[in-house]
């Protein structure tokens, strides 16, 4: 039963992915990506990785996909040329087919068993791992996330309009912010 579900979800994943690549409107593509992500979440659960599934849903489908949707809606871009007829699209298709064939063939070299079907991942176990053995990478990725936020802010921020600043006149007298407060180290 679970096996059948796996294959079904696999199909929906592939259907979603194919539409991402094939549809002209990126908005439609994004929705299909959501479909693919949800299907994958299910697959993770079936494989026995609840934490991964949860994180996928929260982070990926929740944050990243939403961000993507925002940008798509903001920019409203239009693709000007036809999709399949372009030479590069054919090249991409060709390469993809080759890769798919090779990947499947490579996958087929495995012994064919399910490995460890009883294997389960738990949030606690993974969490322990993340906070003990792999603490450094974990903290580092946290730092990376902070950097990403800063980067996005810098990249996305708008330059102040020159007229706006010109209109603001500085006050005649700058109040001393430390005068009223008795900080010992306020003034030299």
């Amino acid at each position: 039963m679970a096996n059948a579900l796996f294959y079904a979800l696999a199909l929906t994943t592939l259907y979603g992915g194919a539409n991402v690549v094939l549809r002209r409107d990126p908005l439609v593509g994004a929705i299909h990506l959501a479909l693919a992500l949800f299907s994958l979440t299910g697959i993770y659960v079936l494989l026995g990785f609840p934490l991964l599934a949860g994180l996928n849903l929260l982070l990926y489908a929740g944050a990243v996909l939403v961000f993507l949707l925002f940008v798509i809606l903001l920019l409203e871009p239009r693709e000007r040329t036809a999709r399949i007829r372009a030479a590069r699209a054919r090249l991409g298709l060709l390469v993809a087919i080759v890769l798919a064939v090779e990947g499947v063939a490579l996958a087929g070299t495995l012994d064919g068993g399910p490995g460890n079907p009883e294997f389960h991942e738990t949030a606690a176990a993974t969490g322990t791992l993340l906070f003990t053995t792999y603490l450094l990478p974990f903290e580092a990725s946290g730092l990376l996330l902070v950097l990403a936020v800063v980067a996005v802010l810098v990249l996305g921020g708008r330059d102040p309009a020159p007229r706006a600043t010109a209109a603001i006149r500085p006050p005649a007298e700058v109040p001393d912010p430390f005068q009223s407060v008795g900080f010992p180290e306020g003034r030299a």
């Binding site: 991409g92 390469v95 890769l99 090779e102 063939a105 490579l106 070299t109």
Partner: protein, 632 residues
């Protein structure tokens, strides 16, 4: 004064050469800045002459000291130290002054000084006055070194030095077309001989024989015949090149493109005699190889005769004298080859006197005629240029061997030796035939230049200045009376160890024949050219034999066709090869790199997706590799 005084002999002219060279450079600088700059002619000329006269005085002094000494004590040696201290062949910088060297030095410095003085007048007004005297002094220095050298390598240095100066001085007027080519020709032909010379030195060194001349002389008795012959042959090649004997004589007539005093000094009196000097110096070596010695005589005799015919047929005054020089040098070789090196030296001395004189007088005539050198366009100068006429006549008579002039005595010695030698008939006949022709062409010159009606365009010909006449007069006196020197010189020089055998023709008979032949030649010339010389010349020129002789028996043509042209073609081929193949390869590499770069550049189109495509293809290849490794 110690033996190091010897170093002044080449040293003074060398210093002079450097000095005048610097003067000339300075003049060039000033001219480049636009100033009008001339050399201080009187001063420079006198100093340059003194730079040669001083060594002459020193030589006289040193020689005089010997007159009371024993023959064995007549050597002064001075060494500057080890020049090439190689392990197997150590060569020192040794100068050796012995009677042979003394005789030659007297000629070189004495006649040289006279010619320096003459040059002051001849080169008057020339813009390269300083350069001329620099070269001329350098020549005297090199020639002195050559004569004084104590070993073969050092001699070779002097040898090359005179060759260099010959090149520089022949091509002195390098703005003109002829001189540079002639200078190059002289140098290249000499080079052929020099190659032989060097190989000879190498052979001697390889055989472990000493390169020091005195030591070599002593060791010569014990050298195996084959080695001696080979070495002798190779060194003879050098002598042939330098002294313009067959087959390397083609450069001397062309060398007349240089100033006439240069022709007088270098190509009559001194440099060309270096070959004779070499053969005489190594007489013992040649005696160890009798066939080579015979070859020396044969080449000398044959060259003498052939050159004499060319002198007879030549229309250019200086070229005729050049052929005459070749011929007389041939006689000197003939003498050496007959086993009488002292006779050869004797003739070297007298020839220096009268040939230099003839050249200087020719220079005087050419100068007066403003550059005319064609004999058929001269004539009737006896009245207008009395002095020159008289000295020229003296020189010609000496050349012809008219007794009791200098040439007679020295030539007589050679003829006597020829008739006493092993190949008496051949050598003797060659010698006599040459003497006949010599007398003929000598007086032909006199008659064509000075007798008859004037044939030149200009009518305002006048005698040359005393500055030119005095040196000529000195040489004339020597030509007339120099015969007295011949016998003492011969006694002075060390006798050849194996003198030519006695017997052969009696000396008196030789004298008779020689005189007869000379007189005969003079008469024949007088009959032919005394009146209407130009028409005679024209008539004779139609004779094919005359034309062959006049063209130097086409040796020059032969060389041009079979050696010069192929060499030039080869040079051009190499040039083309270098330009297209070698340079092409280098350029090709560069162009190839640019081409490759340009092609590769097209991969960089700035598009992310192209780069990603490349990565994807690589990934595909990797996956394929993994699969082929992992499949069961």
């Amino acid at each position: 004064m110690g033996s190091s005084i010897l170093f002044l002999l080449p040293g003074l002219p060398l210093a002079g050469s450097l000095a005048w060279g610097l003067v000339h450079l300075r003049l060039l600088e000033r001219r480049a800045r636009g100033e009008e700059a001339r050399a201080p002619e009187r001063l420079l000329g006198i100093l340059a002459t003194l730079a040669v006269l001083a060594p002459f005085a020193i030589t006289v002094y040193l020689t005089a000291q010997w007159l009371g000494a024993e023959p064995g004590e007549r050597t002064i040696e001075a060494t500057l130290g080890s020049w090439i201290p190689a392990r197997h062949v150590s060569i020192a910088a040794t100068l050796r002054f012995d009677p042979l060297a003394a005789v030659l030095l007297l000629v070189v410095t004495g006649v040289g000084a006279a010619i320096h003085a003459y040059s002051i007048g001849y080169l008057h007004g020339d813009r390269a006055f300083a350069r001329y005297f620099s070269h001329l002094n350098l020549f005297v220095a090199a020639m002195t070194l050559l004569v004084l050298a104590g070993n073969l390598p050092l001699l070779f240095v002097g040898w090359e030095g005179v060759g260099l100066c010959s090149y520089l001085l022949i091509g002195f007027w390098h703005e003109k077309e002829g001189p540079p080519a002639a200078g190059l020709k002289a140098f290249v032909v000499n080079r052929v001989g020099d190659a032989g010379f060097l190989l000879g030195i190498f052979l001697l060194a390889r055989e472990g024989l000493p390169l020091d001349l005195a030591a070599l002389r002593e060791a010569s008795g014990g050298i195996a015949g084959g080695i001696a012959a080979a070495a002798g042959l190779l060194l003879l090649a050098g002598a042939i090149g330098k002294s313009a004997q067959f087959p390397l004589q083609v450069w001397l007539p062309d060398a007349m493109a240089g100033p006439t005093p240069v022709s007088a000094l270098i190509h009559a009196a001194t440099m060309v005699t270096a070959g004779v000097y070499l053969v005489v110096r190594l007489d013992v070596l040649f005696l160890a190889a009798p066939q080579v010695l015979a070859l020396v005589g044969a080449i000398g005799g044959a060259t003498a005769l052939v050159a004499a015919t060319s002198a007879l047929a030549e229309r250019d005054l200086k070229r005729a004298l050049a052929y005459s020089t070749i011929s007389q040098l041939g006689l000197m070789f003939l003498g050496a080859g007959s086993g009488a090196p002292a006779a050869a030296i004797g003739h070297l001395v007298t020839h220096a006197f009268f040939k230099a004189l003839l050249f200087l007088a020719a220079g005087s005539v050419i100068h007066a005629l403003q550059g005319e050198q064609d004999l058929t366009r001269m004539g009737g100068l006896a009245r207008r240029m009395r002095g020159t006429f008289l000295v020229f006549l003296a020189g010609a008579a000496a050349l012809a061997g008219i007794p009791p002039l200098a040439g007679f005595f020295s030539k007589d010695e050679i003829l006597a030796a020829a008739f006493r030698s092993e190949h008496a008939i051949v050598f003797g006949t060659l010698g006599l035939a040459t003497s006949l022709l010599t007398a003929a062409y000598a007086f032909r010159l006199v008659l064509l230049v000075f007798a008859g009606e004037p044939r030149m365009a200009r009518r305002d010909v006048h005698e040359s200045s005393p500055l030119l006449l005095v040196p000529m007069g000195l040489l004339a006196i020597l030509s007339l009376a120099g015969g007295l020197l011949v016998a003492p010189i011969e006694r002075f020089l060390p006798a050849a160890p194996a003198a030519a055998h006695e017997g052969g023709m009696a000396h008196g008979l030789v004298v008779f024949l020689a005189t007869g032949v000379a007189v005969l030649g003079v008469f024949a010339a007088a009959k032919t050219w005394r009146r209407r010389g130009a028409e005679r010349e024209a008539d004779l020129a139609r004779h094919p034999a005359w034309r062959v002789a006049g063209a130097g028996w086409f040796l020059d043509v032969f060389y041009q066709r079979w050696i010069v042209r192929p060499a030039r073609a080869l040079a051009i081929a190499c040039g083309v090869f270098d330009l297209f193949v070698l340079d092409g390869a280098v350029h090709g590499v560069a162009k190839g790199s640019v081409l490759a770069g340009g092609t590769l550049r097209r991969l960089q189109d700035g598009r992310v997706q192209s780069y990603a495509a490349g990565m994807a293809v690589a990934l595909a290849l990797l996956l394929f590799a993994a699969w082929s490794l992992l499949r069961p």
